[in-house]
Symmetry: D2
Subunit: 392 residues, 4 copies
């Protein structure tokens, strides 16, 4: 199937099958919507569109980073687009690193069921007691004891934990290492392991959380796992994270652009249909026109920046493209927030209701300026790397 | 009791009794929190602080507009501050117009129980099918039939409807009037009247609504009420609304400033306590300092503008102060959104959780830029009234 | 010579020969700097880089639109870059339309001396009495009398008029045409023609104007020219202007990006060199880092948008790319203003002096948001063309 | 004369005598406009309005800080308003400190001629080699030698130096002091003193500078002055500067608000008079209306903040009001820049010409965000003083 056809099929599926489920699907709990989502997953498999981002030898479509970026924009127009194609975060990132770094045993146990859609997984990084702006500082520690690790620590914002089969945990295994980027490892822990305590789903902006839509707080209380569960080598936690970062950012940003396009579309539809007086529509107001023009310009700019970053990652790798990656992180997150905000304003009172999808975007995408490094962290990082060139 | 003492007592009560209930009180349903709120209402009565905004002859403290503005700021630091003093919207506005325009019979039946806190009420103005930017256009119509009115129409965002005793409805009684500001009336309708259909509580930004915290959709299907339920005279709907507007705006804006101060306080506390690295706190980061400085400047500016508007209303009445009223509407709503947004950003991941109050402000105060006339409407109105002076 | 080499040579020339003349060259009058500029023009010719944007058969380098865009960015880093390569506005636009629409006689008399750099020319469009936002309304009118036109009217912002050989004037020749885009023509008028009155050079932001740096006010008082001076046909004024518009906008925007890059470079140099206290540099302040990061992101975005627009113009022509052209106009003008403003702020008091180039950019590029259609006009136009798709 | 009458007279004088001289007076050199300004100074004296800010015993009107603030707004509507009333910076500040700290001899020699308008003076603080953000660091040093000081150093932005009689210089006299705020003194130096070298008038945003409108670069080369020229005591430089600061900031900010009101007025006049098409005026465009509304709100807010700061200074002194003083510095400077920018945009091409006053405001008031402490310095200072309360 050629790529243009793939995109058309995916777009049609998302618009026909997912848009039509709104607002029901946004507003009900995970268990209630799951049967419908599973049904759509089967449909996606039947159409041969399953796992677009995954290499063909692992059963996916084998799309390139840039191609999957384009797909991610389309899927992003619905909150469940990625889910029904099994390329949702954090599973997509986990699949990627299991493919690259997993042992055969790890793949057997964790990767394949995930690829088939039989299980879900999660990734535990953020801790309540340490600032995310400085990821090398962590309180979760694994001590070697014979062939095992004994883990103690406290994580939250472990997205999708509730109901998942395993969690990949970022933690300190070599606290004595001089190079602080060599202290951490990633370890796979089945969620039913003794000593892994589920504290709660953290309620986010009014959403209680559940299933894939949970952001859980968890604790490790002398939790024991075999050292064969270490992913990619002891002390390799950050170097794996680095690899994961670049493509992940591209997918995320393209998903945000999908949200922007959806919001933009709703804004335009509202503008041409809402009468304000004497046959005048909202679309006739210059303020609305300004918003539409500014959003169009900035969404286009955001997409071009992401495409440019994807090209650079393809060519030079994530590490050498980290400035581009920082740029798209904060630029796109701000465009996202602006577009959603304007779209709500154009809808008036309807905009803040859960009758349409915008209020949900408004709440849940506020975190975009915070997670994976707050805007401020990325800006400082980018500026310092630019200024370094002037200092030499 | 002198006014400075009143303020100190109120502040102490709000901070000690209400802040300590967070986050529980923000996150549970209306029925669950009501007993606690009622208990606090009794306490307020016992302390002699009940109904601060109401004239003494009606059992209140008889504060002036400017004084109640200052109180409103303090109460606004908790979402339930106004409620426990029985000066919450929309009841406060209803009390005010019942006092000014109500007949003795209307006062007996509707006002007194409200003042005592035995009932709640609501106000139905917004309609799903008409733009709020043009309030003279409405689809809800009351036809005179003998001594009664037969009402048909469709309203939503009738805040607090769920569980209230009566609703004051803005509707068209004289469609034939040339002067479009003379076509509407306000009619009091008991909520158990036949033909008044409760459609649903509209879910707002993830909040299902309930009790005083509902924003209901309702329908009038040949709903019959006696013409003695008209408030202040047939065709007087807008002139009553006008009266209600000025003081209402002052209270609202001061409540927003209360929210700003609360958010500002949380932001500063977080800044000085959150370590980011090597003994450095968030407070040491210049970006955070910029936000704190800008918020301080703009909150101060907002408060001075509101005080200035209150003085003008006191001196010249609401109508002649409508430019000042428009200014504070849009200026304060934007400061509010900015301060809350910064405060969340300073809290990082914690900021989007419902563990603290900021996420709730973020969601529910987004509507501030929309209700009572969207920013854009107020700006145009203000500008046109300024430009008129240049045209003459 | 391959294109990468051309760019390197041009960059070296601009930086070595032009930067070193600052601030002298910015601050002296046109007559004083002209000998030096002419000397550099000879150098450019000797290096085989003359007329980069002009087809080879007319003696230029024959660069494509996108290539000349890249060159224009480099030249834009100095205010005299385009001038010494003879691709400065408005001459470059005039060359382009003379090549495409000029008769042999017109080329002989007007184009060739211009290409050789022996003459300068100008373009008269803007009128003091008509809003530029509505270009079809003009007061300058040419009446046919036998073989001649008799012209009356009033223009200003005729850039470069002072000292030029001819002016191409946009004026009404067919006021009776129903299609208002068919009423105007472009006529070539030698500047020494009787009845062409030079009123003054308009002083702009403290600059008195002179030579190529003039923005002149002129009047046509029964000014007579032969009808053989009409360019491209009677009534074709707008269709010629349309052609000129697309590539002109690309060059302009890329020139602005050159200014942005120059300002950005000065800002970074200042940040790493200016000590503020105890060994701390401006570069260590987070506010400065934020500005650098935001500027980098937005300059990159601007360049990508312009490249994208250039590709679309190449592929689909100016008319079909008018939305992209509107976007780059207002987006780039605002990035320009922001970057220059931040760069000045980083320089402190030095930034507002004419000891460095930034103050000159600040003053003279303020007009970028006004000329060729104010931001507001482009935004409305863009939005209306988007909304039209929703109305059909 | 009662204060309301004073204001009316001043307003009439400024509007009738100064506005009518524009644009001539903005665009000619200092020597050319001086006779006219002197003539108007005589008129002001004749009307009994001379020196509004100066105590009656020194020949002024004896206005309070708040009253002179109101006057300063009116005078600020013309660039020469303050000058013709002899309350222009930096002379007004010099008068103030000479009155408070001057010896009888100093008053005789320096103050009285200044009050009479026979001389001009200046104040030398800023140095090219030290960041203004950290005023305690200075390179200008006075060494005691017997009864004299020998001064060496380098200053610039010594406003009004060119043609003045004396300069008050901030310099280091006690480099060995532990308390860095006790190291500096202010010394009066007649401008014809040997060793005081006039280097040049720094050209600012296209303005060559001259007379009162100069910003000069000067050098002290073993310049000798008697120690009787020290003002207010050795080591008291900063404590005097502190005193001068509060009222100076009020006057400056009110002058800026005067500029805002003038620009706002021009914007509104343009909006109602400029036709854009078919009888539509600029005033009918919603974008223009938005700007007018936002400017009105923010100018009002700025004025209220300044009044509030003036009250606090009156009540608690400058030192205890330094947070309010920081707030008005950065808030007002930003409102100023925004209002002028919008006013220019509304004027289109005319706005960037020197035919009207806006372009001059645009250029010369850009420095408002830089001098007397850049915005960024005031924001950090304010935030740190707020956060200190949270740390204790």
């Amino acid at each position: 199937m050629d790529f243009e056809k793939i995109k058309i099929k995916i777009k049609k599926l998302v618009e026909e099958e997912l848009f039509s489920l709104e607002p029901w699907i946004i507003n009900v709990g995970w268990e209630e919507k799951l049967p419908k989502l599973n049904e759509l997953r089967e449909k996606v498999k039947d159409m041969g569109l399953w796992l677009p981002q995954i290499p063909k030898e692992y059963g996916g479509l084998g799309l390139s980073l840039q191609q999957h970026g384009e797909v991610s924009e389309i899927l992003g127009t619905s909150p469940y687009g990625h889910y029904i194609f099994n390329c949702q975060a954090p599973d997509a990132g986990n699949m990627e690193i299991l493919i690259e770094f997993g042992t055969n045993e790890q793949k057997e146990k964790y990767l394949y069921p995930l690829l088939e859609g039989k299980t879900r997984s999660c990734f535990a990084m953020t801790e309540p007691n340490y600032a995310g702006s400085n990821p090398v500082k962590m309180g979760t520690i694994a001590k070697k004891e014979g062939e095992n690790y004994i883990i103690n620590g406290h994580k939250w914002f472990t997205s999708g934990f509730d109901g998942s089969s395993f969690v990949i945990v970022m933690l300190i295994t070599k606290p004595e290492e001089d190079n602080q980027h060599k202290r951490a490892s990633q370890i796979i822990i089945p969620t039913d392991t003794d000593g892994l305590e589920f504290v709660r789903n953290v309620q986010i902006m009014g959403h209680p959380g559940g299933g894939w839509e949970s952001h859980s707080e968890i604790k490790f209380n002398n939790c024991k796992v075999s050292s064969s569960n270490v992913l990619g080598g002891d002390g390799e936690g950050f170097s794996i994270a680095q690899k994961r970062l670049g493509p992940g950012r591209i997918h995320h940003c393209m998903r945000w652009i999908g949200i922007c396009e959806r919001s933009f579309d709703l804004m335009c539809k509202r503008a041409v249909s809402r009468e304000i007086s004497h046959g005048k529509k909202l679309a006739d107001k210059q303020t609305i026109q300004n918003w539409i023009a500014e959003c169009r310009a900035e969404i286009n700019a955001a997409r071009l920046l992401v495409k440019d970053a994807a090209e650079k990652i393809d060519k030079n790798g994530s590490y050498k493209s980290r400035s581009e990656i920082s740029i798209i992180k904060f630029y796109c997150a701000n465009v996202l927030q602006k577009v959603v905000d304007y779209a709500i304003q154009v809808h008036g009172a309807l905009g803040v209701t859960d009758d349409i999808i915008l209020a949900s975007y408004y709440r849940h995408e506020r975190a975009a300026r915070i997670y994976d490094g707050a805007d401020e962290v990325h800006k400082s990082r980018l500026a310092r790397s630019i200024l370094k060139l002037y200092n030499s």
